[in-house]
């Protein structure tokens, strides 16, 4: 086995986020929410956002759903990154910032897994605040744009 490649992709921090996801759960009466699905593998994620008193700063953000280690760990990392930022900041958050956090090279297929949470969060913010839609939206199913 290519142990290096294996340990690299499933490095400790990813497995830790996968097994102990941060911000896992549901926010009742969330200020913003969206559901996303990756049509390639059927992964699903729902994201819930609560804003602070200024109506802009993300006070709390949670996710639920199911998926592979990469999609779940990336979404877990995203929850930590998004909290305390404004909707506008998250809407324009560069995907490379999240990829740097994940810290391992991803194949194009797995990149979609990693981006599911970020794309869904940006859609939630778009629906609530009219912030810009994310790139690569066409890669995902069922992101309702009402």
């Amino acid at each position: 086995m290519s142990d290096f490649a294996l340990e690299n992709l499933y490095r400790e921090v990813i497995l830790d986020h996968y097994k102990n996801p941060r911000g896992h759960g549901v926010i009742e009466h969330a200020d913003a929410e969206a559901e996303g699905q990756n049509p390639l593998c059927g992964d699903e994620v729902s994201i819930y956002v609560a804003f602070g008193e200024d109506g802009e700063t993300i006070d709390d953000v949670k996710f639920s759903g199911r998926g592979c280690a990469i999609s779940q760990a990336a979404t877990s990392m995203l929850m930590e990154m998004a909290k305390g930022r404004t909707a506008e900041q998250v809407a324009t958050l560069d995907k490379d910032e999240l990829l740097a956090e994940i810290g391992v090279p991803l194949t194009p297929v797995r990149l979609k897994c990693a981006m599911l949470g970020l794309t869904t969060l940006k859609v939630a913010l778009h629906k609530a605040k009219g912030t810009p839609l994310p790139e690569g939206l066409a890669d995902f199913d069922d992101l309702e744009l009402t």
Partner: protein
């Protein structure tokens, strides 16, 4: 070729016909366990396509020159090979299409859209590939017809107890099921369903994409009205498949695609359609691909479909036994004797994408996902499964490599 029809096949020798196995993946021998998605290609088939391109290539059914005649002859020879392979009464009923998906869409559009009426019923099963589900859902929706799904029992086999209730609900016009499930490997009781469909006055559309590579087919014995085959799953090239349909039904149908070649005469105010099968073959055919498919049939028949089927049953039984040793595994589908060479499974707490990725690093190629069977995944209560599938060139060592790989997967996620 190492074996003759009727004998047990020697997968180890046959592998030498497949250039793809002359390589390592991630420094490991390639264990290719995804033949249900698409099979690998024998040198004999590749050579036939090369030979056609190098010696006989021109557009068919047009020119009067030597090359055009040779090309036409090669295409029509491939059609005859497919007719014999399916034991169809006539080559007029053998229509070249891209794949089984296009074959089923042809029937959905050219028969379904014209014959379904509001309140009619189309029956499919929970085991269908999206290719034999979405076209029916689409045309039924367009015509205001109803879609009914035959459910699965706990063994991954069809539960036919609801048929009478469906018959009482209304006018069943189309019954569409697969012969072998691409996801669970279940071999379905098509004979009973055909008889029931015909009692209702319905047509029966058989998706044989997953059956044709692995078992002897006989459209007359099956009694179906349409049958769809994908060449790429049976050692043929991508881009060539076949729809077989009963001539008396095909004759009454309007065309699916219109344009060149499918016409009898074209006037400013009216066009008349060509004879079968040309009426359904608009545009330039996948000529070289059809020739390749003909050569693939030669290859499979020289080995013997019975020998291929027996080999896969053996591998399925071996795989089910070996996989059961892996802690935390859930195996889906029927027992080995009632399934083709397909095994779907999940490892507890580990997503199939992660399983497949770690297996890939060990040279093992399996499919992870919903296998274009989302209704079935919903039924099983999972988002996805892992699927290992076998073919004539699969050897037990590849299954051993898979099992060792799964132990490694569990170690990563321990």
């Amino acid at each position: 070729m190492a074996v003759t029809a009727g004998t047990k096949l020697d997968a180890r020798t046959l592998r030498a016909d497949f250039p793809i196995f002359e390589q390592q993946v991630h420094g490991k021998p390639l264990a290719f366990l995804d033949s249900a998605a698409s099979s690998q290609k024998p040198r004999q088939m590749l050579d036939a396509m090369d030979h056609f391109y190098e010696t006989s290539y021109a557009n068919v059914h047009r020119g009067v020159y030597e090359l055009a005649e040779r090309a036409t002859e090669a295409l029509e020879h491939a059609r005859e090979r497919m007719r014999a392979f399916l034991n169809a009464p006539s080559t007029r009923e053998v229509i070249f299409v891209r794949n089984a998906t296009e074959a089923i869409n042809l029937v959905a559009y050219a028969w379904g859209l014209w014959n379904l009426e509001a309140g009619d019923i189309v029956v499919v099963t929970e085991l269908e590939h999206h290719s034999n589900f979405v076209p029916w859902q689409f045309v039924a929706g367009k015509r205001g017809a109803e879609l009914r799904m035959l459910p699965l029992d706990d063994h991954g086999e069809l539960d036919l107890s609801g048929l009478d209730a469906i018959a009482r609900e209304g006018n069943v016009k189309i019954v569409a099921t697969n012969l072998v499930s691409n996801s669970l490997g279940t071999i379905n009781p098509v004979d009973r369903l055909v008889a029931w469909a015909h009692e209702q006055g319905a047509i029966f559309v058989c998706d044989a994409a997953q059956a044709a590579p692995h078992m002897k087919l006989d459209v007359q014995a099956l009694g179906v009205d349409f049958l769809a085959v994908s060449g790429h799953k049976m050692c043929g090239p991508s881009g060539a498949g076949v729809l077989w349909g009963r001539a008396e039904i095909l004759q009454k149908m309007e065309p699916f695609l219109t344009g060149g070649h499918m016409i009898s005469s074209v006037h400013v105010d009216k066009t008349t359609w060509g004879e079968l099968p040309h009426k359904f073959e608009a545009g330039t055919a996948p000529m070289a691909e059809a020739v390749g498919l003909g050569a693939a049939i030669d290859y499979l028949e020289a080995i013997g479909l019975d020998a291929i089927e027996a080999h896969e049953h053996e591998l399925a039984a071996y795989a089910l036994g070996r996989l059961a040793e892996v802690p935390g595994i859930t195996l889906y589908g029927p027992p080995a004797e009632r399934r083709a060479g397909i095994v779907s499974f999940n490892l507890e707490g580990i997503h199939p994408h992660d399983v497949a990725q770690i297996l890939d690093l060990q040279g093992v190629a399996i499919r992870a996902g919903h296998h274009c069977c989302q209704p079935l995944m919903h039924k099983l209560g999972v988002a996805a499964t892992n699927r290992a599938s076998f073919y004539l060139y699969t050897i037990p060592e590849e299954i051993d490599q898979l099992v060792e790989g799964l132990h490694a997967v569990r170690k990563v996620f321990a």
